[in-house]
């Protein structure tokens, strides 16, 4: 990508435990462009959260972070130097809020001002009703959706260029989920932010992400425009993920379950990490790690890339 906001190159994260090293991220190469919403999707254990925590310097000191990261063109170390420019929101808004202080008190800490009008504006910007009254409310008086909005307000109060949302809607009700996602989209548009939305739910990705990166076992296996990837996935894992969703199958048919389980990160993997579970695996797959290659047509800004040796570079050839 030309001139990305955040650029991750072969980022790896290894946690040290008394039982040895656990490689949560094995080499993620991703770019986040200015003003775009990038979806990062994968199941538990794929390393999607850890990657961005490493970018923000939020991994434990004992964790080893490798690879290159740069922000707005300038290289950075994983030491929290990104803090001023990026904010992160998490899955459980209740846990992010201190129950003993009011929303206003906590917002004041983050926004650096006690001016109630300014604080009220922050809350109004995320659609909280009666923002001035809300300043004096305690977190437990809010519903889950309202708390998540408050947390988003906190994140935005720091004026970030990049917002990272880690499973922001997983703990919310269905109707609230849609509202919060739409809020994120509005906020992105009005402030021209870049957003990374991490989720295991393809529905979430489809709703607001411009591009999507699919992660498996600590590596990116497919990336491209959301519509393209979700309607015509090229990587067998992406295809399997889509086939496993009950929605798309007719009621009463077999869903495409994926046999086996995600590698646990204790041992290094030679070759494609998905090969043991892949129906189409060949010897070539286990020989060496498949590189990300462009598939299909390359437009000016976006390219559809896949890490699978069985996918050709010409539009005609794809795995059926």
């Amino acid at each position: 990508m030309m001139d990305p906001l955040l650029s991750l190159d072969s980022v790896g994260v290894t946690f040290s435990t008394p039982l040895g090293g656990v490689q949560a991220v094995r080499g993620v190469t991703l770019d986040v462009g200015h003003g775009e919403i990038l979806g990062v999707v994968g199941e538990s254990g794929c390393g999607k959260s850890v990657t961005f925590r490493a970018a923000l310097g939020l991994t434990p000191k004992s964790a080893e972070v490798t690879g290159l990261m740069s922000f707005d063109g300038a290289p950075m170390q994983a030491d929290g130097s990104l803090e001023q420019h990026a904010s992160m929101i998490y899955q459980n808004p209740g846990a992010a809020l201190n129950p003993v202080f009011t929303i206003g008190q906590q917002l004041a800490l983050v926004a650096g001002t006690k001016d109630r009008h300014v604080l009220g504006d922050h809350l109004a910007a995320v659609g909280l009703p009666e923002p001035l009254k809300a300043l004096d409310a305690y977190p437990h008086e809010f519903s889950g959706g309202m708390r998540q909005r408050a947390v988003i307000a906190f994140a935005l109060a720091q004026n970030p260029q990049l917002l990272i949302a880690d499973e922001p809607t997983t703990a919310l009700d269905v109707t609230t989920q849609a509202q919060v996602l739409d809020l994120i989209k509005d906020v992105q548009a009005s402030r021209d932010l870049s957003v990374v939305i991490i989720s295991h739910d393809l529905g979430v990705i489809r709703r607001i992400a411009d591009r999507v990166a699919v992660l498996y076992a600590g590596r990116v296996v497919e990336v491209g425009e959301t519509d393209t990837v979700l309607s015509a996935p090229l990587h067998p894992y992406t295809q399997a993920l889509l086939a496993a969703r009950p929605e798309l199958s007719d009621a009463g048919t077999e869903l495409g379950a994926i046999a086996g389980s995600v590698p646990d990160g204790r041992s290094s993997i030679v070759g494609c990490s998905y090969a043991p579970r892949c129906q189409h695996a060949t010897d070539l797959c286990t020989a060496e790690t498949p590189p990300m290659r462009v598939a299909g047509e390359v437009t000016e800004t976006e390219a559809h890339e896949v890490a699978c040796v069985l996918v050709g570079t010409s539009p005609a050839r794809s795995v059926s």
Partner: protein, 258 residues
Amino acid sequence: MTAVIEIEGLTVDYRIRQGGRKQSIRVLDGLDLVIEQGETLAIVGESGSGKSTLANAIVGLVTPSSGSIRFEGAELVGLKGKQRRPFQRRLQMVFQNPLLSLSPRRTIGFQLHEPLRVHTDLDDNARSERIAQWIDALELSEGITARYPHELSGGQAQRVVLARAMLLEPSVIVFDEPTSALDVSVQAGVLNLLRSLKGTTSLTYVFITHDLAVARHLADRIAVMKSGEIVELRSASALFEDPQHPYTQALLASSLKV
């Protein structure tokens, strides 16, 4: 079709302490529901709708303030511990998080023998035989009986919990969010398994979920709950094609489609 569970006027109140005073919150208000033998009924709703409370009340974990729950003709409300036991065998519940539903310090084998010990007169060998059959049916390895819960993956734990329920040969199984805690790919396997286990038997499934897609996929009928009441109860296909109640319509509209 015979009715296996008949609920009439079910009312459940929770007492909580708020700001130093004791208050009562009405979670279910005069709920009526008839569940037919052999069907798969999905109860769909958001948090606060009372769906989990309904499931807990059916299984006896929550005592209703008033109303009646008849199971295979017998009244369950008002029964104390021992009196309830004969019915508990035929009315099982599977909880949301399989790993947390298993006792941490007991082997899987112990936890599979336990329900049989409580409810049947089978001797040790007979129990082991039946357990082996179900372990096989659920595609688990034999050695799993020696393991502890923390050694299992989410999918394995879910199968173990299913085995524990199936062992007793119940007539009704209530599932509380059976797949929420699982990854999509594992969820798919579990849903397939649930369907194949039920097969053409007269087993009745009642499952609580907030995921409409899962409900549509498995259920014959769907009951939509809001604020302690059932607002719509129709066959799955009818509900999706032509939702009547505004709340159902709102739910469908906001569910995230891929």
